[in-house]
Amino acid sequence: MTNEHSIPPLRELPAGRLDARTQHLVAEITRTTEPDRGVAFSRFIGSRRRVAVIALALGLLVIGTAVAETTDWLTGSPAPESVVSDFGTYAPQLGFNPEPGRAVEVAVDGDTILYATTNKQGSYCLITSAPWKRPSTMPDGGTCIPPAQASAPLIAGLVGAKSTPDGQQTYVIAGRTTDPDARTIRFSDPSGATVTRPIGSSGFFIATILTDEGACANGDWKPTFSVLGADRQQRSSHTITLGSAPSGVPGLSCSFAAPHA
């Protein structure tokens, strides 16, 4: 029973799992410390500083009104409470502060729904509700888009995935165009078939793609997205890598990224 021969070597967590576990841990410990903060705050509010707090709140209200004027671009039907709550679990240590109260439904594809909300960093955050992962049962805090990416003419990326025992893969692709006259998005799935979806509110789109083969079965999945106007004419096109095969070699391995330019 030696170290050298009888036990396996040390291994790292599978790719991406350390990040996922870190995010999960931070979200959980933040959640557990929130009640402490609540107690501390209630004690504070009962103190003689109450007047100062009220003044501060009024000040924030004024600032908030000003900020709201700059975030009016995000429209849609109000998100359900489960989504608002889900955005509320986002770990600010990851660099973003979503504003859950502004969450709206922005795009739908069948029973898969995309929600968005603004954040204090000036961009936005996304939550996907899919049949296998609803915010009410599996909240994850969502994904936030860095401001530099959010200002790009078009971003797209993977926001969900599921495999079935018979080998079928479902990929959920979401993104946004800043073109106010865009009405439709068109791109190719991993097999080369054309995918066409309507643009939802505020330029967002979502597409659920079912395939019998992996996303990188034919090498990198790097489609060209065509943004179409109301007249169905192409207004712009953008090539974005959705899935990367290791060293460009086709196969089952494929790495993905959140929506990006």
Binding site: M1, P8, R11, F256
Partner: protein, 197 residues
């Protein structure tokens, strides 16, 4: 310069979640592998990794000697593994909130190697299971994870002398078991000496 474990733990004790996340990233591989070597299953080991750190956060009022965070985490891991079902129940809601890995992950990360690991450690665990619990813990920490006697003592909350005697007994029993069962030499007999404290 990287902050020391001691400073990260001090910040964690004050409620700094970012510092605790850094500790997690620093020691995740060690605890993950320890959980695997005690449980024999990589997937369960990943969940137990989270449980160990959630439990550590729950106990963050604990004062630790300088740079003894990792041995202390090994101690928590040992308790978590010993009471696996109770630990899973305590943190069931938190574990449910852990997003599942994307389907692609199952294809990408050396599945064959990990299956081989599980078979290999399964054989070692079969043998180890024939030792009394306290000797199993000591042996796993000192021989498999290469903790010093002092660190193993801190992890398990026992005197250093107890670590020495239990480890010695564990090695002797394993040699006897191996010779009785006809195990090959490489599977059981030569145990690396743990470094002296």
């Amino acid at each position: 310069m990287e902050p020391s474990d001691a400073s990260l733990w001090a910040r964690s004790r004050a409620g700094d979640t970012e510092a605790f996340a850094l500790l997690f990233e620093r020691h995740a591989t060690a605890i993950y592998n320890y959980c695997f070597r005690r449980l024999g299953d990589w997937t369960t080991a990943e969940d137990m990794l989270s449980v160990v750190f959630l439990e550590a956060w729950r106990r963050r009022e604990k004062e630790l000697p300088d740079d003894k965070v990792l041995p202390w985490l090994y101690g928590i891991a040992t308790n978590v593994i010993r009471n696996q079902r109770r630990s899973e129940r305590r943190f069931a809601a938190a574990l449910r909130r852990m997003p599942s890995p994307p389907p692609e992950a199952t294809f990408t990360d050396g599945v064959d190697e990990r299956l081989g690991d599980e078979k290999q450690i399964g054989r070692a665990l079969d043998l180890l299971s024939q030792l009394p619990r306290h000797e199993r813990d000591i042996f796993a920490l000192c021989a498999w994870m290469e903790l010093s006697y002092e660190d193993a003592a801190l992890a398990l909350g026992v005197p250093v002398g107890t670590v020495r005697s239990r480890l010695s007994r564990a090695r002797r029993r394993l040699r006897e078991l191996e010779s009785a069962t006809g195990h090959e030499e490489c599977t059981a007999t030569t145990v690396q000496e743990a470094p002296e404290p």
